[in-house]
Symmetry: C2
Subunit: 498 residues, 2 copies
């Protein structure tokens, strides 16, 4: 499939054996017609490529007059019509110009490309590319179930109706919405039907569409947890919303304070496993937020990013199940399967559905249909459940390994948020977080401190700075591949204050 | 994978054989512990599901006091701890409340979901769902090369490095950018290297990111062809840009008029095959636009949506090849392969690269990594070329069939824009376009008139209404599956004015 003309080495500088003198002479060194393709079409194609390449590469300078088609044809031993055709094509493309009386010339406007500046690779820390990565937010991507996924893709592609290959609608494939409705009811206690599900190209897209809908409806302020992902707050800010931090403590977000936030009618929460502190929203707080939404007509946006991974008892069911009309549920395949799939799902209260689909249909683009069908098959066949079960065991083993080793090697460090998810919080002595993170980076271990996830305007609604949590590390034990996990833990122990 | 509790039929109303009188009596009719899962965990899980289902379905009303764990355990013949665990779990989820002294009750805040209103399917015309579809813009999706795509997916997944399953960067997978650089140079005369390519989730995403970059750089007005896709103009408008129409005639867009548009430094064009008129941009106009961009420091955005499909001679090479620093090339797999893939590519001038990657990295979301790897393999293996060749033959046969039949059945209709692409323009007698389109819709044939694609403020820059093209149909002969093509043509002939 290589273009022999584009990649052939520079032609030898010896003159072409058949070159006569004359106006074509300038070309002899540049045109090598090896005729790799047969027939008149092949010759013409080869000639076009060769001439284009010569102009492109600067070997034929702008303004250069080309030999007449008769002369070049004779020179190359090919038909004159073929040369005339090739010239015509290159004139049509703008490489050459043809003017009555001045013959065919290389166009003056062909500008050589600027050299591409070398891109510097992103550096992870002052010590350069890290050897180990314990930053939270990514599953162990080496565990992607390639064979099972391929099996599902084969079945899905074979069974797919033709319209699966057309432009898709904003709500996503019906096959996937059916499979998700079953799965979410069974595994997460979500109350829904396929008509209430909207498939999106990742969590961020869903949040972006929702934010635009809320802003268009006149909303301005959205409460968020005072510790969380700046990435998500940015999505809302770009839609014109303001994020108001709600303090987080050992029982999760202070949803009991929502009533005091004037003008706030929407709150974004991570109830199953607060990110990054790792606590579950306390039952009282769950009740408080659903009561608040019901009383005020407010909306709770439930980010259920890793709800499948809970280790010591059954997963806590989704908050959405308590009030499907006031809780919008957002789930994703990024933690349970792979972020490379770009598939997430929203379970939408009925009153928001039309606006949301309208906003997604006009402002956004459809989600990849083939992947949706494959995920539907993956869910329906039970492969998703099997994969999640396997990963739950694997992550739990890692968590246990982390806790056991910490108890032995760094008994002074308290570990929090370990009941679920792919990360834990390690409490540090006051004032040490920054130096521990920097020291680890110098030794090739990428880690995040808790402060990195704090909302910039983190003062509590009352104005007290009471929601600043102590120094801590957020350790993503799901991130490294299996073979690197022990090494990453070793590096972690070395980085901890003695 | 079904939840037996969620889907089991209503239990018989006969009292439970082991039911004693007392506070547990209310529950007997609702709890059916068939114990499909073994062991204490299985019993607890079944009990949790059963109770949750009873609350959710309204069989246990809000505020109902539940039996004590001791009493329910005796009632069901299971361990008391299991009941206590299940209650604890449901309290944690918010279904139940537990208060000292008042026992365990069904939470008051559990709101039943509103019934989902039935969604009305989109209607294609007054006659309801069309039998035939000759609207332009979609390839024949029944021709998607399923087997070849699966082969590529298997190879790509098998060979993929682990990082292919992690979050991807904004520029896209290096494997795909390499494959595209080769392909675009070979097939479209694009001058690039992989570092200049940015993969995006469809043409619209690319245009949206670019529009934001232009707006942030202070641009305000963008020239567009006076006939084109409203969908694309909308994307630019949402980024805060204004679209200024450039007249279109039989030689394509009047790029010679760009110099007269004060303040316009960007133009969006479809040079290879103007959409919807179907003409190629005339060599003089190609020269004019590249000269304009070079002289003014302007930018040409080249929408090469169907450049691969040209029938009577070689494809016209991309405009980008004339000046890679002033032309930004946008290509897509939506016409050549399937819109369901959501993969497109931009070839970006060096001076825009940093801003574009920054805008895409923050405002957008990464593109699906697995599909990118599969497309890379599909390109590298030659399967893409084979598919395009096959489709080119197939579409050309359709075009020839359309032209031949029109010559015989409707010789008064002139056909335009037939050298390339998946659609043709059929000229109609003045004043008939609207009635023809409506009449066709009534007969189950979906079609678009040319007027549908006209820019709303379509007056020419000088103010004359000189760019209004005559009545015509835009016939997408690529859209129907093979088996429906003859029928669609029959319907078309019937709809034409006699």
């Amino acid at each position: 499939m290589e273009d022999p003309w584009a990649t052939s080495p520079q032609p030898p500088s010896a003159p072409h054996p058949r070159s006569p003198p004359g106006p074509g002479a300038d070309l002899h060194l540049d045109l090598r017609l090896d005729l790799p393709e047969r027939g008149a079409t092949g010759v013409r194609t080869a000639l076009i490529r060769s001439l284009r390449d010569a102009v492109r590469g600067g070997r034929l300078a702008p303004g250069t007059r080309l030999p007449s088609s008769r002369s070049l044809a004779a020179d190359l031993g090919i038909a004159r019509n073929t040369v005339a055709d090739a010239y015509g094509e290159l004139v049509a493309e703008g490489w050459l110009t043809a003017r009555q009386g001045s013959g065919t010339r290389v166009a003056r406007r062909v500008v050589p490309p600027e050299p591409t500046p070398p891109r510097t690779p992103p550096t992870a820390g002052p010590g350069g590319r890290p050897t180990y990565d314990l930053r939270p937010g990514s599953p162990d991507v080496s565990s992607f179930p390639r064979a099972a996924w391929l099996t599902a893709a084969r079945r899905a592609l074979t069974a797919a109706p033709h319209d699966a290959f057309a432009y898709g609608g904003p709500s996503g494939r019906p096959e996937l919405r059916r499979a998700l409705a079953d799965y979410l009811a069974r595994a997460r206690g979500v109350r829904t039907d396929p008509e209430r599900i909207v498939v999106c190209a990742g969590f961020k897209q869903g949040l972006a569409v929702l934010s635009r809908v809320l802003r268009a409806a006149g909303e301005r302020d959205v409460a968020v947890e005072s510790y969380g992902l700046d990435l998500h707050w940015d999505v809302m800010r770009r839609a014109g919303l303001r994020t108001v931090p709600l303090p987080v403590d050992g029982r999760g977000a202070r949803t009991d304070e929502l009533a005091g936030l004037t003008g706030v009618r929407t709150v974004l929460l991570t109830p199953a496993h607060q990110f990054p502190t790792g606590v579950s929203l306390h039952p009282d707080r769950r009740a408080a937020v659903v009561d608040w939404a019901s009383r005020t007509g407010g909306l709770v946006v439930e980010d259920d990013y890793d709800g499948e991974f809970r280790y010591d008892r059954n997963p806590v069911g989704a908050l959405q199940g308590l009030d499907p009309e006031r809780v919008l549920y957002l789930g994703t395949s990024s933690k349970s399967l792979t972020p490379a799939l770009r598939l997430a799902w929203m379970v939408v209260p009925g009153h928001l559905m039309d606006d949301l689909l309208a906003a997604k249909g006009t402002g956004e683009w459809p989600t990849a249909g083939l992947d949706q069908l494959t995920l539907a098959e993956f869910l329906d066949s039970g492969a998703y459940d099997r994969h999640v079960r396997g990963m739950r065991l694997r992550y739990r083993r890692r968590r246990d390994q982390l806790i056991a080793a910490l108890a032995e090697r760094a008994p002074q460090v308290r570990v929090r948020g370990i009941a679920a998810g792919l990360h834990a919080v390690l409490e540090l002595p006051p004032g040490t977080e920054r130096s521990v993170v920097q020291g680890a980076a110098w030794q090739g271990l990428a880690m995040d401190g808790l402060a990195r996830f704090r909302h910039a305007s983190g003062a509590s609604p009352g104005g007290e700075p009471g929601d600043v949590l102590g120094d801590a590390l957020v350790v993503g034990y799901g991130t490294p591949p299996d073979h690197a996990f022990s090494g990453a833990l070793e590096a972690l122990y070395r980085a901890l204050p003695g």
